[in-house]
């Protein structure tokens, strides 16, 4: 049965994920060792043991993301994150950096190692590299592949595959995008942050509401438009005389309609994005996806996404719209 992996940015969110049917929750430490290094988010050594206990008592696994790339100054902090998580008895470490994968494999060989989406493995040869060298058990695939590419990859993959099912959509191959550091100095790889909140500024002007990222104008909204978070790739920019969403419109990924396909090609787990979102988000999305997965397995041949699922998911989607993203060929 396909496993449901849900995000928890804090203890209340973790409880929502556990109580609404997540098979596993994924979390991170309160520092730049993970790709959601946001103020007020994540776990420390004090509350992590309690969180693990809460999840384990209810049969839910806990994965810890240590999935950014340490530079020389930070190396020992990343090592410590690996050791702390391993010593607390979590169920898997999600990592991207080759040095850190190697460290974890040598120091904690018994610990399950997952390749983070930030590791950017988009082919079975790449997966083989991580499996042969660091014994990864599972890999999370970047959101750049079409369903047929995922299916082909699944037939050749030496490891279990986890794919994104729902949440904010990275338009770029994860782990290979420096747009944020080009503008703000901080990127997912270096700081666990994309378009960080501290660089964001909103301003009401005669031309409309403006959003800026380190002073760069990301978008300008009319009174009747919904303003979205100024993620660098989702801005309205100009090419020649045209002003439009040059890279991507604000939208969320939603693959609930292709759940049967994902199961048939052998996907082991569905990941829900959004550790930075509220406990209410985690509750809502976990509940809908649990229902969908259970509904599917109860009668695989007659699976049909229910209208109330989409309605519930659209409410928590970025830009209030969803897409199949790269899974669907036309999008590419």
């Amino acid at each position: 049965m396909i496993e449901l992996v849900c995000p928890a940015g804090n203890f209340p969110a973790l409880k929502e994920a556990v109580n609404n049917g997540a098979d596993a929750v994924y979390i991170g430490f309160k520092d730049d060792t993970n790709a959601r290094h946001f103020a007020g988010l994540n776990f420390n050594e004090k509350n992590l043991p309690k969180a693990i206990e809460y999840a384990h008592q209810r049969g839910t696994k806990v994965f810890v993301a240590i999935n950014t790339y340490p530079q020389p100054d930070g190396w020992s902090r990343w090592q410590k994150a690996v050791d702390t998580a391993a010593d607390l008895g979590v169920d898997a470490l999600i990592m991207a950096d080759i040095g850190i994968l190697d460290y974890a494999a040598n120091k904690h060989p018994q610990m399950n190692r997952h390749l983070s989406v930030q590791g950017s493995a988009t082919s079975y040869e790449s997966l083989k590299y991580y499996q042969q060298n660091f014994g990864i058990k599972r890999a999370v695939l970047p959101r750049v592949l079409s369903v047929s590419q995922v299916a082909h990859l699944a037939t050749q993959s030496p490891v279990e595959l986890e794919v994104f099912g729902f949440g904010s959509l990275c338009i770029m191959a994860e782990g290979r995008c420096h747009l944020s550091s080009y503008v703000t100095g901080e990127s997912p790889n270096t700081c666990g942050a994309c378009s960080p909140a501290k660089s964001v500024r909103w301003e009401k002007t005669p031309q409309g509401l403006e959003s800026r990222l380190n002073n760069v104008l990301i978008d300008r909204y009319d009174d009747n438009e919904n303003a979205g978070y100024p993620t660098i790739c989702k801005g309205r920019f100009t090419i020649g005389k045209n002003t439009f969403h040059v890279l991507e419109e604000p939208t969320s990924l939603n693959t609930i309609e292709i759940l049967p396909e994902l199961d048939k090609i052998g996907i082991k787990a569905i990941k829900i994005e959004g550790r930075q979102r509220s406990p209410a988000y985690t509750q809502q999305v976990t509940q809908v996806w649990r229902q969908a997965i259970d509904h599917y397995y109860a009668d695989p041949d007659n699976y049909k996404p229910q209208p109330q699922w989409s309605a519930a998911l659209n409410k928590v989607s970025e830009g209030s719209q969803t897409t199949l993203g790269a899974y669907s060929r036309p999008w590419q």
Binding site: S123, V216, L217
Partner: protein
């Protein structure tokens, strides 16, 4: 470039497998011509490997037998290391610390290009760690030093998108823009350059003023990314500066940035 004072030339398609300006045999032919003119030639490979057909082409490059290959995706690192073929890594391979470099060095890495977002301070830290490991002299360090920086890769073709074309029927529109499509903010600030599935910086990285320091800290090679214009002038100026030759016709420095080298946002300009 045969006449230009460059030591190494990287050849090949690194962005989109649909562009077939030259086939494998033609690239190889060109490589041989350059090599017979005393240039070191490295065959550069695709940066985002997704399809089986792309793996097939990649295998041909990795098995070419004559020239070193630059891996730009971990699939290439796997093919090369598995077959014990020495290799180079490009700036889109995530090497952020000496531990990673040491592992890849054992697997055959001989030269690496630092990811563009890393700073001088990080590079110095990595080189110092390599020194402690006793392998600093066994690895060549190359720094992307001039040109539009490769910042991101996507499944989506932004050049096709800008023309309202689906990627499957892109008409190879990107070929019409040898220097890419300029993306500006609504305030006319230069932001990015689009090259198919690749997004590059809007400004050009330029470490011309840092060359002396780069040599001092142990950078072995500087990379100049070509454009349709001015490349030869830049090459000449870099060459003269490195060789301490007086430069009477330096190139015009315009729209350049150097933030990353100084540990700041990449787009910042004229940092000292």
């Amino acid at each position: 470039m045969i006449e230009a004072p460059v030591d190494i030339i990287y050849l090949g398609e690194t962005v989109c497998s649909k562009r077939r300006s030259l086939g494998f045999e033609q690239w190889l032919e060109l490589a041989k011509t350059l090599a017979s003119n005393k240039k070191e030639v490295v065959l550069s490979t695709l940066s985002l490997i997704e399809a089986e057909s792309e793996l097939k082409t990649l295998r041909r490059y990795c098995d070419n037998g004559d020239f070193t290959v630059e891996a730009n995706d971990m699939a290439a690192v796997q093919l090369l290391s598995e077959n014990k073929i020495p290799f180079t890594t490009g700036p889109t391979i995530n090497i952020y610390n000496a531990q990673t470099l040491a592992i890849m060095h054992k697997q055959g890495l001989q030269r690496w290009v630092m990811p563009v977002e890393l700073s001088k301070k990080t590079l110095m830290g990595i080189l110092s760690d390599l020194d402690d490991m006793g392998i600093k002299d066994k690895i060549e360090t190359e720094v992307f030093s001039y040109g539009h920086m490769p910042l991101a890769l996507s499944a989506r073709c932004f050049t096709a998108r800008a023309h309202n074309l689906p990627k499957d029927q892109c008409d190879l529109k990107c070929i019409d823009y040898p220097d890419g499509l300029q993306v500006k903010s609504q305030e006319d600030q230069s932001l990015f350059t689009l090259n198919g599935i690749q997004t590059l910086s809007g400004l050009r990285y330029d470490l011309y003023n840092e060359l002396e320091e780069m040599q001092e800290i142990g950078v072995d090679i500087v990379r100049i990314s070509p454009r349709s214009k001015q490349t030869l002038e830049v090459v000449n100026s870099y060459y003269k500066k490195i060789q301490n030759i007086e430069d009477t016709e330096p190139y015009t420095i315009k729209d350049n940035c150097n933030g990353y080298w100084h540990g700041e946002p990449g787009m910042l300009q004229n940092l000292l």
